[in-house]
Amino acid sequence: MPLLEETLASIRAQNYPLEIAVINDGSSDGTGEYLRSLNGACSHVLELEGRGPSAARNAGIRATRSEYVAFLDADDLWPPGTLYTLAKALSENPAAGIAQGLIRNFRTDARGAKQFFTPPYRFINLGACLWRRSVFDTVGLFDEEMALCEDLDMILRCWEKDVRKAEVNVVTLHYRRHPGNITRGLSGAGFGTVKAYKRRIERIRRGEYDPSTRPQTDGSAYIGVPPPSQD
């Protein structure tokens, strides 16, 4: 479990009071045994049976009580001080529901050394954000029917509901890219983007909000811009 181990280490290195929930979504690579061997180092270890990232995130939200919630995928890393920086931004901006920092993509070379290959950028990635728990009361939980792009769907819903963002200009996520990333190699349709649009059409049809009057913030500013350099 070298990647998960590194990820958990980056969480512990935050030196921030934490309630950690690890959700093992039906992996067959020994993650379960590894998590049991941690002997209670995490507050919650939940086993799901391959229900997808939305269900896993929701399980984590339900299992925990903390006022702030953050998500970190098994192979990504939080640079030191991430949670402190984001929590400070939320506490200083009571109107904000989400604090968000910048992302840098990295891969590891043959020697295991980190190589960053994008400048810091701001875009959809749940790992770079800290959420006020109340946001999920406002916009609902993650859509468990969305296998991918549940993050885009969530961000669009937050935007539509004018959930404010507190943005910090600090890198808060090291986003690992490797041949195993599930967002690679799929065509546009398979990628889930269209489904997020479909959900939006449904919300407009249901009259949940009127795109001509809301939201109040500029969409591209809210969502950010993907990194210029692709992997």
């Binding site: 290195a13 030196n15 030191p80 001080g81 070379d109 020697r111 295991g112 050394a113 980190k114 190589q115 290959f117 875009f123 885009l152 967002t183 799929l186 065509s187 546009g188 349709a189 990628f191 983007t193 269209v194 489904k195 997020a196 649009y197 479909k198 939006r200 059409i201 407009i204 795109p211 001509s212 500029d218 969409g219 591209s220 969502i223 811009v225 993907p226 210029p228 350099s229 692709q230 992997d231």
Partner: protein, 781 residues
């Protein structure tokens, strides 16, 4: 036979089928559409391969309960609609055999509803939701507008015209390039302000508003000037104009990238750069074919080292160093010889997976950048030179291309800059003159020794015996730095260093006179790095150090060196702490051992090299580790064998900056050796000899296990983080070669070998310094 048909415009159009509808997203514009059952069937029947309206209609006829004529005319009309939305594009499709006619009145046919398309344009500002696409900084191209918009149109929206426009904002101006035409432009003042605003897709009104925040338009018709200028940008293909949607939001307040206020508004002009280097011809059309110019690295004194796919280049004359990624390093490699842009591109395209046009554009911009930095010069060449040899083997599979990246570092400028900026260059002195000078020095030393007496001490340094012969003065503080390496004087030495000064004139006054003249006229007599022009040669370096007034001379072949001081004034602390640096560097360099700027601590089984520029925490880290029981091999300079990774200690010196360091290391208080140090009321660092304080904790060498790069982090905890060989190069090369006048390309190659070999870590020094020795020890275990 082929027929006119349509196909879905993938990959710019993405879609997915749901139970009751098909959702289609045009990722170029952010517009998305819902297609009802029949409409969705038409879209899916066209598919990415394409089909004719006839083929689509007959498919539908078999499914839906409606007259074939109705279906056919609906399909034709709906295809027009889809094409108008740019969701499908015309294509020629082979005519297939006519599909079987449906049996009349088949029961499974379902009710027919005319095809319908519902369009949503509320997400047009999110033009980027498909990360599968390469998104250029310039944004997606957008739909062509129905009516041509010109700068004379009442209201319009501007945006960068597409991926063929590349630009970079420099300190003083922005350079924009139209890759399609090859023309490029320099933009500054209000012209630059407006151009940079284009990234925000501004309206005419917003541009004027933003300019108004910075400039005063006295009697100038600002609007007319802006219209003219935007029109020029559009004609140049840099910007495109679009109609302003009727429901556009009110004008935003856009911030200028170079803010200001109250400036007089001059004029707005777009200038095709009048290119003295003729990077490209500048004539539209000729564009990329042009440029039979040759480029080459234009700096004489450029040292470079490469490891782990990265390169560090040091330009000591300019006092700067550069870090280059793989692609940029490849360009550097090629530009060591005169190379055309075309040859450069041809060489790189064999290695990298990138479209040739994109590579040419990126290479043009990079060379332009290098020209501006004066790293590269352009030469007009009458005839084509042979293409440069590749110093890489063409890989089986091309590598992904990451854009050329070069960063400039000036933090070591003070250390690196030539001490003699006005130095003359002069040819090497005639053969034999250096040797004559050397033997003259030898004679004078012998004379001084005969007159004042001489003492000998022997050291085992880097696996060889080094003898220090001192004439006159009893003050042996120079030898204390190497005291831990003392050896028996009986064995013959490979190198003898003669140390004396001219305070007591010898029988004839000649040498004293030479040193007096040198002291007064060194800036004329010496080259950029202190080499004494009349006598210095590659094989016998003769280096003068004007501050402490020391002449260092080495004859590698004879194994004789001379360290001659003009007077008897005390040596500055750095000479006491690390004596004979220039001599030892050249001597051991000739034997394949590298003089390294760095500290080292460890155990007999293995240790770490601590690298980084002065002030990064090397001394503190080394001293704390020794205090905690690790063995000491140096805090500033060491010798390393890059082949075996074995480190040899040179000096057992430790340096402390001030009284606060003594609080952490109270054991050292009162032990500083130098009169100019803070413990004696001076302003210099305090020099301590570890063998004085912890005699059992100095070691003559050990095999290296890792390279550590200390960095003060400001965090509470200290921690270690693995880093790339490129980081190791950056820590090792510039600060080592900056301090050694005779450093050359071989030093870089040995340092690169070391960076490639040793695993490197950044050691983040937190507030809790006590953790550091444990971290180092953890690494060694």
């Amino acid at each position: 036979m082929v027929n006119q048909g349509f196909r879905t415009d993938e990959p710019d159009v993405i879609y997915q089928m749901f139970d009751e509808e098909v959702v289609v997203v045009d990722v170029r514009t952010g517009t998305y559409h819902s297609l009802n059952g029949v409409a969705g069937d038409i879209f899916l029947a066209l598919g990415s391969e394409g089909a004719t309206a006839q083929q689509v209609a007959s498919r539908l006829t078999s499914k839906y309960d409606a007259p074939p004529d109705t279906i056919h005319s609906d399909v034709l009309a709906f295809c027009d609609r889809l094409a108008a939305e740019s969701l499908i594009v015309p294509v020629e499709v082979p005519s297939a055999a006519a599909p079987e006619a449906p049996a009349a009145g088949e029961p499974q046919r379902i009710p027919y509803l005319a095809p319908a398309l519902q369009t949503f344009s509320d997400l047009q500002q999110l033009l980027l939701l498909d990360p599968v696409h390469d998104v250029s900084a310039a944004g997606w191209p957008n739909l062509p507008s129905e009516e041509p918009v010109t700068a004379a149109t009442e209201a319009f929206l501007c945006r960068i015209a597409g991926a063929h426009v590349i630009f970079e904002k420099f300190e003083d101006e922005t350079v924009a390039m139209n890759v399609a035409s090859g023309a490029y432009y320099t933009l500054y003042g209000p012209a630059e302000d407006v151009f940079l605003l284009m990234q925000e897709n501004p309206t005419l009104e917003e541009i004027q508003k933003a300019l108004g925040s910075k400039y005063v338009f006295d009697s100038v018709d600002g609007e007319a000037l802006v219209r003219d200028y935007v029109g020029n940008l559009a004609t140049a293909g840099l910007v495109q104009l679009e109609p302003l949607p009727p429901d556009a939001s009110p004008a935003r307040d856009l911030a200028l990238q170079r803010p200001g206020s109250g400036l007089p508004f001059s004029t707005l002009s777009l200038q095709v750069f009048d290119d003295p280097q003729k990077l490209v011809s500048g004539t539209a059309g000729e564009g990329l074919q042009a440029g039979k110019r040759h480029y080459r690295i234009g700096t004489a004194d450029l040292l470079y080292a490469a490891a782990g796919g990265e390169m560090v280049a040091v330009d000591r004359d300019m006092g700067v160093y550069y870090r280059l990624n793989q692609a940029a390093a490849d360009v550097f490699g090629l530009l060591r010889k005169e190379t055309t842009l075309e040859q450069l591109t041809r060489a790189l395209i064999q290695k990298y997976e990138i479209a040739e046009r994109d590579l040419t554009a990126a290479a043009m911009m990079f060379i332009w950048h290098l020209l501006r930095m004066k790293l590269v010069t352009a030469v007009a060449a009458e005839q084509e030179q042979p293409a440069p040899a590749l110093d890489w083997s063409t890989p089986d599979k091309r590598l992904p291309f990451t854009r050329f990246d070069i960063s400039v570092h000036k933090d070591l400028a003070e250390l690196m800059r030539p001490m003699n900026a006005s130095a003359q260059t002069s040819p090497e002195p005639p053969v034999g003159r250096s040797a004559q000078f050397r033997s003259m020095l030898h004679r004078y030393f012998d004379e001084a020794a005969a007159l004042q007496g001489a003492t000998d001490s022997c050291f085992d340094i880097g696996g060889t015996k080094v003898r220090v012969r001192r004439a006159g003065s009893n003050d042996s503080e120079l030898e204390t730095a190497c005291a831990h390496l003392a050896a028996s004087p009986s064995t013959p030495a490979a190198l003898t260093i003669h140390v004396w000064d001219c305070a007591v004139p010898s029988t004839d006054y000649f040498l004293t006179l030479v040193l007096e003249k040198l002291h007064a006229n060194w800036s004329v007599a010496c080259g950029a790095r202190g080499e004494l022009l009349d006598f210095h040669s590659e094989s016998i370096p003769v280096i003068y150090h004007p501050g402490p007034d020391i002449l260092s001379v080495l004859d590698v072949e004879q194994g004789q060196a001379y360290f001659l001081k003009r007077d008897a004034s005390p040596l500055p602390y750095w000479e006491i702490g690390s004596p004979f640096r220039y001599i030892l560097h050249s001597w051991f360099g000739a034997r394949g051992l590298q003089f390294v700027h760095g500290g080292a601590v460890g155990t007999p089984q293995g240790g770490v090299l601590l690298a980084g520029k002065g002030g990064s925490g090397k001394s503190t880290t080394s001293m704390l580790c020794v205090k905690a029981g690790l063995l000491y091999a140096g805090d500033d300079y060491c010798l390393v064998n890059p082949e075996t990774g074995f480190l040899f200690s040179l000096y057992n010196t430790g340096k402390l900056k001030g009284a606060e360091d003594l609080e952490r290391l109270p054991e050292l208080a009162g032990h500083s050796h130098n009169r100019d140090g803070f413990e004696h009321g001076g302003i210099g660092k305090g020099i301590y000899f570890v063998s004085d304080i912890w005699p059992d904790r100095v070691i003559s060498g050990f095999p290296l296990r890792a390279l550590l790069i200390p960095q003060v982090s400001g965090e509470r905890d200290s921690r270690m983080e693995r880093c790339s060989p490129g980081e190791a190069l950056l820590a090792l090369v510039p600060s080592t070669v900056a301090q050694l006048p005779a450093a050359n390309q071989s030093d870089c190659e040995r340092l690169a070998q070391l960076a490639e070999k040793l695993p490197a870590y950044v050691l983040h020094l937190g507030a809790d310094l006590e953790q550091i020795p444990a971290l180092v020890r953890g690494l060694l275990d």
